[in-house]
Amino acid sequence: MKNRTLSELSQLLRDREVSSVELAEYYLERIGRVGPELNSFISVTGEQALSQAAEADRLIAAGQAGPLTGLPIAHKDIFCTQGVRTSCGSKMLDNFIAPYDATVVEKMQQSGVVMLGKTNMDEYAMGSSNENSHYGPVSNPWNRETVPGGSSGGSAAAVAARLVPAATGTDTGGSIRQPAALCGITGLKPTYGRVSRWGMIAFASSLDQGGPMTQSAEDAAMMLNAMAGFDPKDSTSMEREVPDYTATLNESLEGVRIGLPKEYFSEGLDSGIGKVVEEAIEEYRKMGAEIVEIELPNSGLAVPTYYVLAPAECSSNLSRYDGVRYGYRCEDPKNLEDLYKRSRGEGFGAEVKRRIMIGAYVLSAGYYDAYYLKAQRLRRLISEDFHNAFEKVDVIMGPVTPTTAFRQGEKSDNPVTMYLSDIYTIAVNLAGLPGMSIPAGFSDGMPVGLQLIGNHFDESRLLNLAHRYQQTTDWHRQMPEGVE
């Protein structure tokens, strides 16, 4: 049962082989038994889940069920959920019960899914290892001593260990794709503006985007069908029709042009990963795709550009956590300044404070032009690279990460090496493009992801390419040991 995808479970529900309540109970039991060891959940909402499941069963019985009705999922704890703690992995919001639902949560709920709980994450989505959570690190189910990646590490580990068949994540610089790669699952970061950011706690507003983390491309398509769409509450969401992403999964790959950026296959890439990616590309060639070498000449600028812009936005986005209206407030503040300093000093973790300081610095008078403005110009150059590439190819492929999952603690003392683990994913956010990670094999027993990058709003093509690959390979059906 546990290795079933969303689409398989959906069929079982419709065939009345299983009820939604039974499914919820089954996965809640797994979360209770296997979950604590992985620490992939911050909150488990069993009672609410069972009542949602009972309602779903009523809908199924009445023949009013949609494809997602009754299926259990988990939300990354960055999405506001009405009446449920929404911590964003931070001590600052440990006591925060959201008074409203994020649009993603609302839409998923309308599609009939059952929320089992909220998954662990790096504090305010800042991190690549899930070691920056107030609720402790998450273990990678493939090797408990390694990290699951971040910031959506809890969602990735939970799906990989089949504690839940699918989950939501968010991706600002790779936070869906990198943990998906390290945990051997499928993760899709949609085009910026495709999924509403309303109620998704902001890290860097111009880069943040929510998306599905699943076992298969088909599941990701089902999830995206429910998540995507214009939201009048989010000015940056696009007023653009949402296609049925499941309808084009089986399109032929004959003549599809796949670009391989030579910058993504140069030094720094682990040879085991290089080999897996090359084999995956070979698979595509067999399916009729045309392989083209391309250039993304400004790739090397993506990480430094990102680490100016994302901290700049976060330094402002996180100003609201001041201990005045909600969230953590220090004991016995002596005066206003003391209230601010200690509430923020005690409520935020080290990485969050580091980025706030970097951000305040790059925006300050006298440094703005040299850092923020220059980074904005580089961002345009990076976007142009992709724009030029997409005149020659339909999709870009490469590795997701330079290495497989690293050991807990290995990079936590050196922020820059940690930042470099997002070297292949960050440019996609800067350009606002859709990107995907799918399981493509193993290196020394650890999962390796293949990255697919599409043109703006070309999610259908990415899902089509991913699905066809998953029809001829079974990497995505592999499960770690010890999660029985």
Binding site: C80, T86, P99, R197, I201, S206, S235, S316, D322, R325
Partner: protein, 473 residues
């Protein structure tokens, strides 16, 4: 003295600039603040179309360029009544560019004052320092209220000019119906930048900014105080410090709030939650078509078409409400424009003032006043009796015709009746009649007075004059 003004006009939208919460004044604290206004995690702003519309109207009214693309930026600073830790404002690309405003000074002199820019921004909440046992309360009802900040060039040279400018903007925003102009409720607030420089010097002196003045009178006093203060410092050989000051209404003085060194670095940057505000020509032109007649156009029309003096036209167009009232009176009076102007500016305005009644609540409608003026012009009543009629109308005794009929105030125009009265008066005063005939012409006034008295003021004075002259020949 060199002065520049920053005026914050609260835009009269129903809802806030980035949320759907109401902007109504006076509600219980924090009852008109939604998740967006409270700055909860995960909320996002959505720009209020109406606020953009109002800012566009203002820009067109001052002949400024309305930007095809303006950008919202975040002004970052910490304060308890600033929920997000930043204010959404416009910085590098404001919605309204350079424009100008003509102000009226004494003796019919006018002067052009440049407007540097006007930009949209959100207001902050309010900190309440009373009644919390040493703690402060926060009311976020006002947070997110749309403001249009109107920044003038440093073209102003005196308190009188500053007031004329501020009043002109105050009147303009009400003409445009984009601000209710209510100064007690804080809908119209002024910051004054003042510096001094010796005559002949080109470059400006160091300025001080007096923040948050909400009355023209306080602004006048604050400028006078600040002028003296800076003059003292400079005459003593000292230097004015660039700083922000507050005007203490009770003490009648300004005091320092924070100096430039303590000033925040606001770390402005474009707000990534909002797209640039893009307005095309078609939109801007459609707004231009909606513009009402503006004060200066109206004033000009009153002079050229209605034959009013520049002074009268200036007073009557001082507010859109008064101008509208006057025009209705003039129309009801059948084109007796000057008479209508005199009555509106004279008896009518005096009565409003005396009873502290607003124009909207006036017991005498424009139709009633115009109807009364028509009775003056058709000789039904004299100007003197008209005052009596007006008072009766004011105290609710009905319109002019009713009052005249009931009080028997109709002017006597029957020559026979007037002749009879005159004959009686002459007969009763033979000595004076003799003197008049002997050449003492100033006695005519005496006879007119006697006849008017006999007629209880109702005889037509010009007829009385004419007949008296004939009879006394």
């Amino acid at each position: 003295m060199v002065i520049g003004l920053e005026i914050h006009a609260q835009l009269a939208t129903k809802t806030k600039i980035f949320s759907a919460a109401s902007t109504a004044f006076g509600a219980e604290p924090n009852t008109q603040a939604c998740a967006i206004d409270l700055g909860l995690p995960g909320v996002l702003p959505v720009l209020n179309r109406e606020a953009v519309h109002m800012a566009t109207k203002f820009g067109l009214a001052i002949d400024a360029e309305v930007a095809h693309k303006s950008v919202f930026a975040r002004k970052n600073y910490f304060y308890p009544d600033l929920p997000k830790g930043y204010q959404i404002s416009q910085f590098e690309l404001p919605i309204v560019g350079i424009g100008e405003i003509e102000i009226d000074l004494e003796n019919g002199v006018t002067k052009m004052i440049g407007v540097t820019r006007a930009h949209l921004e959100e207001d902050a909440g309010k900190s309440l320092h009373e009644d919390y046992h040493g703690m402060s309360g926060i009311d976020l009802n006002r947070a997110g209220t749309p403001l249009l900040e109107i920044v003038s060039e440093p073209d102003i040279r005196s308190a009188a000019e500053a007031i004329a400018y501020a009043k002109k903007i105050h009147s303009l925003v009400q003409y445009l119906e984009i601000c209710d102009g209510n100064m007690q409720e804080g809908s119209f607030r002024m910051d004054v930048n003042i510096s001094l420089r010796p005559r002949g010097q080109e470059e400006y002196g160091t300025r001080a900014e007096i923040k948050n003045l909400n009355s023209f009178r306080f602004m006048e006093k604050a400028i006078a105080y600040e002028f003296d203060r800076q003059m003292y410092i400079l005459e003593d050989g000292g230097k004015v410090v660039q700083e922000t000051r507050l005007y203490d209404v009770d003490k009648g003085e300004t005091r320092s709030m924070r100096s430039k060194e303590e000033a925040n670095d606001y770390r402005y940057f474009p707000d990534p939650d909002l797209l640039p505000c893009v307005l095309d020509n078609e939109y801007i032109e459609s707004v231009r078509k909606e513009l009402p007649e503006l004060p200066n156009e109206k004033k000009h029309r009153f002079i050229t078409h209605l034959g009013l003096s520049a002074y009268d036209a200036g007073v009557l167009t001082g507010s859109r409400e008064l101008a509208t009232y006057f025009e209705a009176v003039a129309e009801a009076a059948g084109g007796e424009n000057k008479l209508a102007a005199n009555w509106v500016m004279g008896e009518f305005s005096a009565a409003l003032n005396k009873d502290g009644v607003s124009l909207a609540d006036s017991p005498v409608s424009a139709e009633m006043l115009g109807g009364m003026i028509r009775r003056i012009s058709d000789n039904t009543i004299s100007g003197k009796i008209a005052k009596q009629v007006f008072e009766a109308m004011w105290s609710g005794e009905g319109d002019a015709d009713v009052v005249i009929e009931k009080g028997g105030l109709k002017q006597i125009t029957d020559s026979g009746a007037i002749e009879a009265m005159i004959d009686e008066v002459i007969a009763a005063n033979p000595a004076q009649a003799e003197q008049f005939r002997a050449g003492k012409e100033q006695l005519l006034g005496f006879f007119v007075g006697q006849v008017m008295k006999a007629s209880k003021g109702q005889a037509n004075p010009s007829q009385v004059n004419k007949i008296l002259r004939d009879k006394l020949k």
